[in-house]
Symmetry: C2
Subunit: 545 residues, 2 copies
């Protein structure tokens, strides 16, 4: 197996310590320029960390000869599988204190090999961390503690094929290790799309989406990966689970829903039949400006409670709008978009605009069904129609890179998301903002920037997504972030807002999750895990002990 | 507690042995007239069974004095809780051989009483059968076997209140024992509706819908009760589980989805926060006639794969269309309807009609948005627009009563449903028809009527619903039906079609379910049950042993 961290789809080099492609990382000058916006950051960026400086030792175990051809043990590969890509991970790498480096990285090519690796690991007390694109921002793919003799990172990305397409039924059997672009490239010739575009799209896999119940970037209806699942194939230490391809079923609790969100703790998802969609032919989008954030919330609720089902309905608070270039004047901006493969969407956009205007929004419908007219389609299937939309989209994909640039300037900068019912939303957002600023100030002595946007909206609530940035104290960044996160998690708990809407639980959210999860469900989940993973080797520490 | 079997909402008398209200049962003359349509049935109807003839003895246990006020032991109440309302139940009652009569029937009024009853039952080896409206058609609410010292039917219908309404967030906290009309009556003054209308609407409860993953009568999108659940409260022997009210969450596998479809085997659902909808203001419906059933399937698939989301898209095969009066000439009929609380639906109906015509359908759009124009709304919120739609609707609600009338004429008559992907549907329907007719002929010597309709449609498949009717052999009706069901279940299994789309598993579907369910999921479910129900008292025999 090559020791490379090159992206299988693009041949571009992947960063072992930071987000995405190394060639897309901000250079030192850009880091300094970005850092200058945040008072108190460093004068010069922290150096890019080197694997050689980590002093990675020999693995504690060797694989059996029958599996050796699947397994790598060189430091570069192991370092690239040590952690996810959250701020905690990036700053630990920058400070030379990454999480425990796995002893081995295996890249199985089929279910038999996955099962053999699990058997071997179970027999030898080796923890197995299923690994897709490695984009976890919640500590989902690292090992903590020392209860296991060794750690194996199980990288699924060699299983990345679309194995079957049912064009008439608009579904495909897809291997779990396919990264977003890799699977879309295989579907495109058939005129079909999974239409699931999380921010991590390029760097996350189908299996990762399924194991973490990922949310796509569409605002309503079909955006949760859960709803696209027709059937799952999951290799567990107790055998392989394969559900039937069914459009709907009432035969007992859904087997698939038990594995969705199980974060590798119950088994390794190796493939799924996924529901697909035709590529949209009609699109229209625009932005609406509000002077008042709370009135904008009312507008969004009205749109979410209609049956207009916007593809995008993303509300940017003034800070978020400023940061992304969508607005310069302290306005709140609503990015609104509609799509359809069946019929024009102008009427839906116009009706949504009417609802927004009734709550004080200012915005115009674009002249025509733009995307359909000019035939363009961007990488993720959306087509921005105006400058604010376009500015926001570019910023959206660039954000994680900028976060890493700020981290190199010694900033503490991270995002987190939640969801709550509408009655909670206004106070929740206000209190998270206040508590995050207070916690940041207390921990650092600096003023923090706290921005908020709504990423997903529902008839009964919304998902606010927060970004916090503040100058850190050299060497204390992780502790500072943990303090801030603990403070906002308390706010979430007080408002009965979920500890995560679409980033999963991992290890970082465990304290909040343990408080949120009903205790009888914890009993059931623990029992289910003991039945499927009797040697307790699967992703120890996530979800349940 | 009164010993009556009177409906709490209407004060109309409920039948202990047959469907619904006794005053709606066909009289002897109607039974004879209906039976005459089915060659080989009896000349005179079987007499209506009497509780006094069942020889119901004394209960094997007495409740503790602290709970005695909640518990009834008189024969009428116990007989009415002995079984569900499937054909197997009705014919067993008619033949004087009902399932095991429960020793006691308890009607708790709050969670504390439910927990106390479970504690007492656990301590005394008493099986507990949660009971809502008692409309199970799969043996979901009866006790089979003799592993328990006694049987307690836990009737939840005294817990039937809407406890809270969040009008802005369109949600309500509803007790699980509320029958359909009881909860809708409490929501109507607020302009809201749960909009869940299974055929059993009048005789089934919210808790029953949740425990069985019920399907409403709408064809697409929001029709499964699962999707309306914001949070659940479930009393288990190991404690009470209460999930948070969340519009969406990615925090681990969904706790609610484990209890949805658990059929009382993991706990007793006592209340839920449910997502509501505004009452629709715009409606339009029509019917489309096809000369060929298979071309009609293609039309339905095209409509299901659009994003038009019809409220009704019910395809009736020629026999079904004839039986319901929707067509007399051997045509296939598609009942098509649209609803919206936001915007007119005429365009959507017109586009759907275009799709149907492109596949050989003949039909016209109604002149105007009918229901909105005349302001009428029927009991279940739909408003038929033409004669075929109207005929079909009346027949739909009358069908279970007619089934019981036919049962009194010695017929074997029952329905069953399934779901499969589109590629399976045409052959599946043909083979089920053939095998059911063959099995019926072999078992009875008579020609059976086998009709099919599609009740729910999806982009990736559909749910066919079958009705089988054939003259029985006196006294052998149960065995004959079991033979027919086993034959069609084999067809379903061969096509990987689910053993139930929305009728649940109960005890009748266990053999098919056991073959369908992935074995690792069975291990997990068994472990979860052992953790939550350590004395194995909860609805023994459903889902899992």
């Amino acid at each position: 197996m090559p020791a490379t961290a090159t992206d299988p789809g693009t041949a571009r080099p992947r960063s072992w310590w930071g987000w995405g492609y190394t060639d897309a990382h901000p250079d030192d000058a850009e880091c300094v320029a970005t850092g200058s916006l945040l008072p108190g950051t460093l004068a010069r960026p922290l150096p890019i960390p080197q694997v050689a400086d980590l002093g990675i030792g020999r693995p504690a175990v060797a694989p059996p000869s029958s599996l050796a051809h699947l397994v790598a043990a060189d430091p570069e590969v192991r370092a690239a599988h040590a952690m996810g890509k959250g701020y905690r991970d990036v700053i630990r790498a920058l400070r030379g204190r990454p999480g425990r480096i796995p002893d081995l990285v295996a890249r199985p090519t089929d279910d038999r090999e996955v099962a053999d690796l699990l058997d071997w690991a179970g027999d030898h007390g080796v923890a197995v961390i299923p690994f897709g694109g490695g984009s976890s921002v919640v500590g989902g793919v690292e090992y903590r503690g020392d209860a296991h003799r060794a750690v194996l990172s199980l990288d699924l990305t060699s299983m990345d094929r679309v194995l079957e397409i049912d064009k008439g039924g608009r579904a495909a059997r897809i291997q779990a290790g396919a990264l977003g672009p890799v699977l879309e490239d295989q579907l495109r010739p058939h005129g079909l799309t999974l239409r699931h575009f999380p921010q991590s799209f390029e760097f996350s896999t189908l299996g990762g989406w399924l194991a973490t119940r990922a949310g796509g970037h569409y605002a309503t209806v079909h955006t949760h990966i859960d709803d696209f699942v027709q059937s799952l194939r999951v290799v567990t230490p107790a055998g392989t689970s394969e559900s039937w391809r069914l459009p709907g079923s009432g035969a007992g609790p859904s087997p698939d829903r038990m594995f969705l969100g199980s974060e590798g703790a119950l088994g390794v998802i190796t493939e799924a039949w996924m529901r697909l969609q035709e590529r949209p032919r009609h699109k229209a989008s625009t932005s609406v400006v509000f002077a008042d954030f709370h009135r904008a919330l009312d507008a969004v609720r009205a749109i979410a409670q209609s049956d207009l089902n916007p593809a995008n309905c993303r509300l940017l608070d003034p800070g978020e709008a400023l940061l992304s270039g969508a607005s310069q004047d302290g306005s709140t901006v609503l990015v609104l978009g509609f799509e359809s493969a069946t019929a024009p969407v102008d009427d839906r956009l116009a009706t949504a605009l009417d609802l927004a205007r009734a709550h004080g929004g200012r915005g115009e419908a674009p002249a025509a069904d733009r995307a359909a007219a000019d035939g363009t389609a961007s990488a993720d299937g959306t087509a921005p129609a105006d400058a604010a939309v376009s500015a926001w989209r570019s910023a959206f994909l660039r954000m994680p890179y900028l976060r890493d640039g700020l981290a190199r300037m010694g900033a503490v900068v991270e995002t987190f998301e939640t969801a709550a019912t509408w009655d909670r939303i206004p106070a929740l957002i206000d209190e998270v903002r206040t508590e995050a600023m207070y916690a940041a100030l207390k921990a650092t002595g600096h003023q923090a920037t706290v921005n908020c946007r709504l990423t997903h909206v529902y008839p009964d609530g919304a998902a606010p997504y927060f970004t916090v940035a503040v100058a850190g104290r050299p060497g204390d960044e992780v502790a500072i972030w943990d303090d801030i996160k603990a403070a906002v998690t308390d706010v979430l708990h007080r408002h009965r807002a979920t500890v995560t809407h679409h980033h999963a639980v991992g290890r970082d959210h465990r304290p909040g999750y343990d408080r949120q999860r009903p205790e009888p469900f914890a009993l059931a989940l623990r029992a289910a895990k003991a039945a499927l993973d009797p040697h307790h080797i699967l992703n120890p520490g996530v979800l349940i002990d």
